[in-house]
């Protein structure tokens, strides 16, 4: 019972149970991908500057995945000890809305999953920001997941949106961080997996990199994969991120700056 919200029934509610009759078209990996190749990503729609109240913001949509990101700051850090050159802090928070996944999350409990997603995105971004130029300040990155289709792809899209928002806020960066996810399905690399594809995969990785410096900022792997396959996934991700996603982000920022 949370008195700060409007509460539902006192007993727990539960999702409706559906008929167990012959369901057609349950997807299996043998069906392959209908609308794109294994090494294709879903089309990206990226719009910087959508949230007028924020210093910088971005909205990203890759088919079903929809994420909004806002950057506030740099603002003065509170409760930090005095230091002449102490670098800025960069905090990130992920906040999925309650409808973002097929089952409604409990409102009062922040899932442990949100934290780990926030940490992953934070790690991807933090080394790209020139924190040493902003002593005693804080940059807040807030991410709202409106709809999620595949957690790892969602992390990748969130990192792209956050980096775009940082650039939109005019914060000095070493380069744009772009990110891509890949799953190992039946010993093949599938880029930008959806929820269904992640479920049947042996393992999934998310790779974030700085194409401008040709460096990787974060790799997050889940599931089980031999080291060689991890490398195969990483290479596929990095190639896709550098060759395609980076120019999409740069183009979106450029078009927004022209207006």
């Amino acid at each position: 019972m949370d008195r700060r919200r409007i509460n539902g029934p006192t007993e727990d509610s539960f999702g409706p149970v559906f008929e167990a009759d012959e369901v057609e078209g349950i997807w299996t990996p043998a069906d392959g991908r209908k609308d794109r190749g294994l090494l294709d990503i879903r089309p990206i729609f990226l719009q910087p500057g959508l949230i007028s109240q924020a210093n910088g913001s971005a909205y990203i949509e890759t088919q079903k995945t929809k994420i909004a990101c806002a950057v506030y700051g740099p603002r003065q850090s509170k409760n930090t000890a005095y230091s002449e050159t102490g670098p800025a802090q960069c905090g990130s928070q992920v906040h999925p809305i309650l409808m973002s996944t097929p089952t409604r999350a409990s409102a009062s409990l922040q899932d442990a999953e949100d934290r780990s997603v926030a940490v992953a995105i934070h790690q991807a971004l933090v080394s790209s920001v020139r924190l040493e130029l902003l002593p005693k300040s804080t940059i807040d990155v807030f991410i709202t997941i409106i709809e999620c289709d595949g957690l790892e792809s969602c992390v990748a899209a969130g990192s792209i949106a956050a980096s775009t928002a940082l650039a939109d806020a005019g914060i000095e960066l070493f380069g744009l961080v772009v990110s891509c996810a890949a799953s190992l399905v039946e010993n093949q690399v599938w880029l930008d997996p959806t929820e269904d594809e992640e479920r049947v995969s042996a393992g999934t990785i998310v790779l974030s990199c700085l194409p401008a410096l040709n460096k990787i900022t974060n790799v997050w792997q889940t599931g089980q994969m031999p080291a060689l396959d991890v490398l195969r996934c990483m290479e596929a991700c990095q190639q896709k991120a550098t060759a395609e996603i980076h120019s999409i982000v740069a183009q979106a920022l450029l078009e927004n700056a022209k207006i």
Binding site: G8, A107, T144
Partner: protein, 273 residues
């Protein structure tokens, strides 16, 4: 360069002396965003964009953006109300939408907003229409709205988003078999909700002696009074709230607002519903 310089000076002036800044505009019979006192911002409503929800809507009122999703679940009814389902509306104002808000539990503003919306929304759907098996099983409709961009008049935008999402909602059809305790839902058949009323809210603010329609986030903290008028499709009143004093003199500010709201409701209805 000169115009850039002037724009910066104006922005600094606005930040340091917001009241004087707005005063100067009001003296010229205009508002900072170019509207007249009785002007409304553009509204757009986009329904059904969240596939994981049973019904959803995205509403933009000027720059203010709200997404709302409806999720239907089963629950046992309360013992004292066996023939009533549940309608649970909540608004979230996350730290993302404005520098005013901090991460954490709902702010006071979000709590007040949720409560006011709950009162208005309770007129929209008869709770008896949400019963599946009397005393045994009812629908719970979770109506969750999240603010993505906070640029004033969130109450109007949130109510519009919730009503549009409820109108968009389709419940899976429950199949009730005799001699069977369990109720399952059809995967293919859906039923729309019974909507009894379509309330729409129109809000106003009083700045000194001027009545401003649809205030923005910049104007809201400077207002002496805020007035919300909620009307249904027959243009009859569902709720009215006035926080703060009326206009000085004889003018009855509330009836001015109600008649302005009625005009607005008619033109809005054609545009969005």
């Amino acid at each position: 360069m000169a115009s850039d310089d002037d724009a910066l000076k104006a922005a600094v002036f606005q930040r340091l002396h917001p009241r004087t800044y707005l005063d100067r505009f009001v003296a010229e019979k205009y508002r900072p965003d170019g509207r007249q006192f009785d002007g409304w911002r553009d509204v757009s409503v986009n329904v059904g964009s969240i596939s994981t929800a049973d019904g959803s809507a995205l509403v933009r009122l000027g720059e203010t953006t709200i997404v709302c999703g409806v999720k239907a679940e089963f629950a046992e009814p309360e013992l004292d109300a066996p023939d009533a389902g549940f309608l649970v509306p909540n608004v979230d104002l996350p730290a993302l939408c404005s520098p005013k808000f901090k991460p954490g539990p709902p702010s006071d503003e979000a709590q007040v907003l949720s409560d006011r919306l709950n009162e208005v929304l309770s007129t929209t759907i008869p709770l008896s229409s949400l019963v599946i098996k009397p005393g045994k099983l009812v629908w719970v409709l979770y109506v969750d709205a999240t603010c993505i961009n906070y640029d004033g008049n969130v109450f109007d935008a949130a109510l519009l988003a919730m009503v549009a999402a409820l109108r968009n909602t389709k419940l899976p059809k429950p199949i009730i078999r005799e001699n069977d305790e369990h109720v399952v839902c059809s995967r293919t058949e859906t039923i729309p909700l019974q909507i009894a009323k379509t309330p729409i809210s129109m809000s106003f603010g009083v700045f000194d002696t001027t009545l401003l329609a649809d205030p923005t986030a910049f104007e809201e903290p400077l207002l002496d009074t805020t007035i919300s008028v909620v009307l249904d499709e027959q243009n009859s009143l569902v709720a009215v709230s006035q926080l703060g004093p009326g206009l000085p003199g004889d003018e009855d500010v509330l009836s001015t607002c109600i008649s302005a709201a009625k005009q607005r409701r008619v033109s809005l209805e054609k545009q969005i519903l």
